[in-house]
Point group: C2
Chain length 253, copies 2
């Protein structure tokens, strides 16, 4: 049996000038992070880079080496600013080739939509040796090469690609989490939080303050791969807060 | 006079397990990117790292060296998971010290809120040699050390800190942009887009496809630091699209 304490990690590279210019709000970090956690894989680092070959190559080679999996989003469409496939092939030191199955998928998809032009055929190009990731939403597939998963930039297309990968990647224990909220300034209970984390091995406590309805509050998120340790930590933290005079809101505020 | 062709760059490190777990949707990338552009500074790279000292140190030292400015968000509160100041001090090889002015600000802010406890005093700690960034929203200031700007994780507090920095950082020409939209599959006009970009020096064209109201469309964003080049590129691209039979929607769809 696999080592249950083994931690599986992934990194994500978000490729796109539109995120760095502030024009577009990224939605892929959140959905990929959440999906990875269900697979028992932890998202360890995200980089957002420009549509710039050198920047993509550098980040691909660093992150694929130090993580079990590397995901990228963006830059796999048909236009001149879509350079992800070429940059990743360069990072891997392999040629770019037209994948026959991708070509067939695109030919079929565009049969009733004006035919397979040169621009559309660009979306069948892959780093040599790659396999495809199904895209139920539109014609162009995602691409897998070794531990690299090349996904679309448009969030609902990436969602479909993730769906088709569900259950296919080896992972470890998923990280469980529980949230409790409190109308308290986190600075008032900082010592209590630190003590609760130290007293519960294998649990991490995050503190997320907010200001809402004219009042200061915070949510405390306890994370662990061990359900029983998680429950004990939440119970102990809740008891300590209640004893201090701060009523706890289950599931957070 | 300064070189008008000089490009000023910034990087951003978003520090926080809550973003990498998918629990919290980041809002700082967009607001900092937009603000930087108005200052004439381009956001070149973003990294999202965990609440992990080694990860913060590595990214701080790489990104501060190759950009004019480095911003960080998150991890400057009073709790045990707030390790940004210590990690940045370690990256710089300097001690952590209590800043007397920050201490005075916090003492004043908490005078009517229960007093300045040890936990709250943590928010007056800075890497030795730092100056402060005003925070009009709550007691704890941001921190500047050389070309590093250490900001809050809570977006509205960071917004206030950015406001107090407005106009104080040297930058170059801001990047101007104009958007036009079209109900067209981007694969149909990929060649036309590439040709328009090649024909207009100093302009970049980004293509952002979408599927909405049951139809395929795309927005094209033209960017340039030269207003007249930008106008010419938009006019030429619009004319080419119209001639191809694709009506253009000014300002995008």
């Amino acid at each position: 049996m696999a080592d249950p304490t083994r931690i599986w990690t992934a990194a994500l590279i978000v490729i796109g000038d539109e995120i760095l210019s502030g024009r577009t709000q990224d939605k892929n970090v959140g959905q990929i992070a959440t999906w990875l956690n269900v697979q028992g894989i932890r998202l360890r680092e995200v980089r957002v880079v420009a549509d710039d070959s050198d920047a993509i190559i550098e980040s691909v080679n660093i992150l694929r080496a130090r993580n079990d999996y590397l995901f990228t989003t963006g830059g796999i469409g048909p236009t001149h600013d879509d350079i992800t496939v070429d940059a990743i092939a360069a990072a891997l030191g392999v040629a770019v080739e037209v994948h026959p199955q991708a070509r067939a998928m695109l030919a079929s998809y565009y049969e009733t939509r004006g035919g397979l032009t040169d621009a559309r055929l660009r979306m069948a190009r892959v780093p040599a040796g790659a396999s495809l990731i199904e895209n139920r939403m539109s014609g162009a597939p995602g691409i897998r090469h070794g531990n690299i998963f090349i996904m679309a930039g448009v969030p609902h297309i990436t969602a479909g690609m993730l769906d088709s990968l569900t259950g296919t990647l080896e992972g470890g224990l998923p990280v469980l989490s529980a949230t409790i909220g409190c109308w308290v300034a986190e600075s008032e209970i900082a010592d209590l939080l630190g003590a609760a984390e130290r007293a519960h091995d294998g649990c991490q406590i995050g503190s997320y303050p907010f200001f809402r309805e004219g009042r200061t509050g915070a949510n405390f998120v306890v994370r662990s791969t061990d359900a029983s340790a998680l429950d004990q930590c939440v119970a102990a933290l809740s008891a300590a807060l209640e004893q201090g005079g701060w009523p706890v809101v289950p599931d957070g505020i």
